[in-house]
Symmetry: C2
Subunit: 205 residues, 2 copies
DNA sequence: AGCATAAACGGACTTTACCCCGCTTAGTAT
DNA sequence: ATACTAAGCGGGGTAAAGTCCGTTTATGCT
């Protein structure tokens, strides 16, 4: 007989048990994080044991310790992305590009602040390019909005990278620990204002 | 007799042998990096062995693996800082603030590009605040220049953090290895232009 | 249903960062 | 010079990340 077109692009879907185990591991990881707070107290051995699986399985699924946190973050990011792509304006579509950009910054920083511990744990010394670079939500969205703004002659791709850095992970890196813990409430508003000011400066005609 | 004012602020200078060992370890680390390239191939055991010192000494001096790379980077940063603080304009003093800001971005990115591997290795999953935050060269300098620019009503401290993130962040976190090796020459110029465009947009009246 | 095969699994093994603590030594005060 | 003390040193010990490979199992095909 004839073999059906062997999908070279789609290298065969994940097996059902693999999917189950991945989900189970992520759920277990969340439990452990909730119970004993502190991402650095989550060890791969403990995770495997608590999930009732072998350590080999954990690494097969996530590749590396940081991989687990990347998966967790990606998971939470889906809901956020939904709001951006299909939620009510000004975050969702329908508002003017500049207003969406401002709203995006506020929402994104709040998200990152809420996930700062997990986000930090996605970084990994041995990976040359860390998390979020694969699914560059912020960069892509910002790039899209910049495209609608008709800025004269700028390198929009690079500008998107710069603005992403000024908003997303890198900003978090440069805010000191005390900024983040002491005045968690205040910092959110302050960053939101600063972001608004930044993009208004960048985008004015 | 009377004890001399016991300096509580200056917790007693480092002992001579400690200084000697610190320098020796840094020099040895540089040798090893040069020989076998790849920061991740440098192990603490190997470093201690090659330096003829105990492993404990290495950790006592640098605290952590990332600490070694932070020390190496800081070391190289001194020369760079010299240029910024006392070198010829427009990087050094004497030029208009905006020109200095532009020149600083270009120079800083070139520096980071040359040190990207070490810089990357200063990041450490378990440290909440990474390299360069202790001696925030970029942030401080940018803040100072912004102060001279008389921008109306902006949150200059936060703007400095944002710009620092936009300058240093991409290299650390977003630009992939291929971006950097393929077009190493091109990327430098492109980033420099983008930086110039960004700060001109931000700082125009 | 039975078979072939690639994927997934488990857990012992290796490597490496980092800790601990008894011993040594530089610096200082007398 | 001598003695005192805090800092420094060494290297064996621990814990956790990541690898390997023999065994098990899901899945598609006949």
């Amino acid at each position: 007989m004839e073999r059906p077109v062997l999908p070279l692009g789609a290298p065969r879907a994940e097996r059902a048990d693999a999917v189950r185990n991945r989900r189970h591991l992520l759920a277990t990881a969340r439990e452990m994080l909730a119970e004993q707070g502190g991402a650095d107290r989550l060890t791969m051995d403990a995770l495997a044991a608590r999930a009732g699986l072998g350590k080999g399985t954990v690494f097969r699924r996530f590749g590396t310790r940081a991989g687990i946190f990347q998966a967790l973050l990606e998971d939470d990011e889906r809901a956020f992305q939904e709001q951006v792509m299909a939620g009510p304006p000004p975050l969702g579509p329908g508002a003017a590009p500049l207003d969406r950009l401002i709203a995006y910054g506020r929402a994104r920083f709040a998200f990152m602040l809420g996930h700062r511990e997990i986000a930090r744990a996605t970084l990994d010394g041995s990976q040359s390019v860390p998390a979020g670079s694969e699914t560059p939500l912020s960069r892509t969205h910002i790039r899209m909005l910049l495209g609608q703004l008709r800025l004269g002659g700028a390198d929009l791709d690079m500008l998107a990278v710069q603005l992403t850095a000024a908003l997303d992970g890198p900003l978090l890196l440069y805010l000191s620990a005390s900024d983040l813990t002491e005045a968690a409430a205040g910092i959110e508003e302050r960053v939101a204002r600063a972001w608004q000011d930044l993009v208004q400066r960048v985008c004015r005609p």
